[in-house]
Structures are given as structure tokens and as C-alpha cells.
């Protein structure tokens, strides 16, 4: 069984995995980081988005083995150690960017990848970037609003229909 060594949310991790173990299964089953969700398991929904070396990836469509030596970031690492929410998390709460919350970890990890590359995205850019993140509840408007707000932008113009 191969051993993978990686850094997850700043903590070094070394774990024996089967070759076929998906990154999301390593996170959820071996490391008990169950904030990363599995919605579809077919790379459609984005509930499982995490960062690998800073890039958003679908953890259901990557083998754990491929993350050898990588820095992995999950939703559990977004808030500060004292529980203070990240900007984006706080904005999701303030602007009702979630209802059931199932898609939210993936949404927040995608949003933070977007803001890293593009600190002030337009509404269209946010919607395009979230193409691979599906939400069954919100209708997306409040998610877009939250991301606009988290990036310090005026949200009054965001469509309210």
C-alpha cells in the first residue's frame, strides 16, 4: 500500500492508502475532515472542492496518491484557530449565502480560490467561476452577493430577482 505524505490545513500528514483511494475519502475517512462533502461523486457538483497547492480541485476526482507532497486546504482550515470565521465565511452568514449548507464548503473553497486570483471579480466573473458548484437551495443570488461583499464590493446592484 502506498504511503502519501502531505500537509493538510498546515498539519503534516502521512497515511497508508490504497492506490484507488480518492483524496476526498482520505480527508473524510482517514482524517475525519468531514466538512468536505460528496454530492455527486461524478465531478459535477463541486461540493468536494478543496485546494491542492492553492488550486481548486474536485477531491472526488483526484487520487490521494496524486497529492503526494502537496499542501491541501479544506473548509476546516478556513476559520482562525479561535473560531473566528474567514471573511468569506462571515459574508456567507451575513448575506444568507446558504440554506441547507451542503454545497457551502465547496462554494467557499471555490470562492477563496477565485478571490486569490481576482480580488475584485465582477458579478459575471463570479457566476462563471462557480459554474462547477451546484446549489440546490439558494438560487445562487445570495452566494454571489456574499462573494461580492467578501471582496469589499457594493452589493446593492446585484440582481435580487
Amino acid at each position: 500500500m502506498p504511503t502519501v505524505t502531505m500537509v493538510v490545513n498546515g498539519q503534516p500528514v502521512s497515511q497508508d492508502v490504497e492506490a484507488r483511494t480518492l483524496l476526498v475519502d482520505l480527508l473524510r475517512n482517514d482524517l475525519s475532515l468531514t466538512g468536505t462533502h460528496v454530492g455527486c461523486d461524478t465531478s459535477q457538483c463541486g461540493a468536494c472542492v478543496v485546494h491542492v497547492n492553492g488550486d481548486a480541485v474536485k477531491a472526488c476526482t483526484m487520487f490521494a496518491f496524486e497529492a503526494e507532497g502537496a499542501e491541501v486546504a479544506t473548509i476546516e482550515g478556513q476559520a482562525a484557530a479561535d473560531g473566528t470565521l474567514s471573511n468569506i465565511q462571515q459574508a456567507f452568514q451575513d448575506h444568507h449565502g446558504l440554506q441547507c449548507g451542503f454545497c457551502t464548503p465547496g462554494m467557499i473553497m471555490s470562492a477563496s480560490a477565485l478571490l486569490k486570483d481576482n480580488p475584485k471579480p465582477s458579478e459575471d466573473e463570479i457566476r462563471a467561476y462557480l459554474e462547477g458548484n451546484i446549489c440546490r437551495c439558494t438560487g445562487y443570488h445570495n452566494i454571489v452577493k456574499a462573494i461580492m461583499a467578501a471582496s469589499g464590493q457594493d452589493i446593492t446592484a446585484v440582481a435580487a430577482e
Binding site: D41, S43, G46, V49, D55, A56, K58, M62, E66, E68
Partner: protein, 261 residues
């Protein structure tokens, strides 16, 4: 998934040598292969990951003025790095979604040759050359119908070389659920003529629309295409569109590509 072993060589030579075992299969971004394995549609004994091979990564210009892209370069890297070929960068930047683009690669897309994939249209429309560990293959000889290519077992795409056209553009009418092309058309005006490649439409996979090429050779404008008709014979039929619908879309997408080129 059935169980398998996995190896991650760091050179092309090592990858090729382990791929000589007939039950070994290449793994690149996994965006197609992992779903296939999950559905138990493939049962390799060993996966040979191509993601740790520096010689297969990156984008550069060669002495012949071609843009060279390593076979394991991701769609995201092409979207931001192929600055000499904006039409190609724009095409890569619209494949799937950001997370798919961060893993999926040019070599994986071309080896898979999905009839609705974007890269086959770009490669055929550009008249690119597919370089493998054993040979160089012209785009016109490479694609052999849906999911079929001339690649032999154990042969891997190490690089793709694109001549730079004078003008080019890709227009995709997206199937919103899968994000693949319902119809996609890549138009490129080269010094020696126009090439028009169509994906998503045909039962035979990507193809060149030669009548449009002739018309655009004479006059590179949207009106040059207005009299042309595409026959619905041999076009794909599924819940997303009839052959007639796709035939019309080919013309509309080609006109939009000419307009934007």
C-alpha cells in the same frame, strides 16, 4: 473501482517503459479516467501517472515559430499561459469549470477524443502536430472517429505543436449540464488557407467543414457562409438536440467564430 497499483515516474522514458505492460494505463488529470474507473468500465492493473514528469509540463515557442504545449499541461495553464495564441487560451479557459481545468490536460483530452470535447476542434482547426514518444502525427491523420485515435497501446502524447494562425476563434454552444460542446467550431485563418473544425456534432467525432473552408478562403466574412447548408446526415441525435438542430448550429457557431476571429 476495481483495485489497481499506481506509479508516478518522473521521466517520459520511465513512463513509457512501465506502460509496455499491457495491463498498464496512463493517468493524466483523471477527469475522464477516474469517472470511468468508478463505473468499472476500465480495469487496469497499474495506472501510470503522467503528472510528475517535468518534461511533459509547460508552454514554449520553438524555433519553427510553433507554440509547444507539454502533453500533461493542464487546461488552466494553457488558459493563462498560451498568450501567443489567444484563441487557444480562450478555448482552454472555457473547458468544464475551474476545478476541472486545474486537473484536466491536453494529452488526456486528445487521447480520449470525446466527440464533444473542445481540444480536438482546436488541434484539427489549427493543423497542429501531436508528438508522442515514438512519432509526430499530423492532426489530419490523428482523429479516427469518436473515442478513436491512431495512438497505439502504450504510446503517450508528450507534446502538441501549434502553428500560429493569423486569426482564429472558437465558439462553443455549451450543453449546460455537462459543460461540453453541444456544437463547437474552431475557425483559423492560416497563411496557406482557412481551416474550420467542428466538434460535438458528428457521429464520426471531430471533422473539417471543407465547404466553409473554401468559402472563407475566397472571402473571410460571415456572409461567405450564409448561402452554405450543412447536411444533417451522420450528425448526432440525443435528448439535447436533433441532427437538424446541430446542422444549423454548426453554421451559426462558424459565423460567430469568423466574426470574433
Amino acid at each position: 473501482m476495481y483495485a489497481f497499483e499506481i506509479e508516478r515516474p518522473s521521466t517520459i522514458a520511465d513512463a513509457v517503459s512501465v506502460l509496455q505492460n499491457e495491463d498498464a494505463q496512463a493517468l493524466s488529470g483523471g477527469q475522464t479516467l477516474i469517472p470511468t474507473l468508478k463505473a468499472r468500465l476500465a480495469m487496469p492493473e497499474t495506472l501510470i501517472s503522467l503528472t510528475g514528469i517535468p518534461e511533459m509540463q509547460g508552454i514554449c515557442m520553438n524555433e519553427a515559430g510553433q507554440l509547444c504545449i507539454g502533453g500533461a499541461t493542464t487546461h488552466a495553464s494553457v488558459a493563462t499561459g498560451a498568450i501567443q495564441y489567444p484563441a487557444l487560451a480562450q478555448m482552454a479557459g472555457h473547458i468544464g469549470d475551474p476545478a476541472v481545468r486545474n486537473r484536466g490536460t491536453i494529452g488526456g483530452s486528445l487521447a480520449n477524443n470525446d466527440p464533444a470535447a473542445c481540444y480536438p476542434a482546436a488541434v484539427l482547426g489549427s493543423g497542429a502536430t501531436i508528438v508522442t514518444n515514438t512519432r509526430e502525427i499530423a492532426a489530419d491523420d490523428y482523429f479516427q472517429g469518436m473515442f478513436e485515435t491512431v495512438l497505439e497501446d502504450g504510446e503517450i502524447i508528450t507534446e502538441v505543436r501549434f502553428p500560429l494562425p493569423k486569426r482564429a476563434n472558437y465558439q462553443k454552444f455549451q450543453q449546460p449540464a455537462s459543460r461540453f460542446a453541444l456544437v463547437g467550431v474552431f475557425v483559423a485563418k492560416h497563411a496557406d488557407g482557412v481551416r474550420v473544425a467542428v466538434t460535438g456534432a458528428s457521429e464520426e467525432g471531430v471533422f473539417r467543414w471543407t465547404n466553409a473552408e473554401l468559402a472563407l478562403d475566397a472571402d473571410f466574412s460571415t456572409t461567405a457562409l450564409s448561402e452554405l447548408m450543412v447536411t444533417a446526415d451522420g450528425l448526432l441525435e440525443d435528448i439535447h438536440g436533433s441532427p437538424e438542430y446541430r446542422a444549423n448550429l454548426i453554421k451559426v457557431m462558424a459565423q460567430q467564430a469568423v466574426d470574433a476571429a
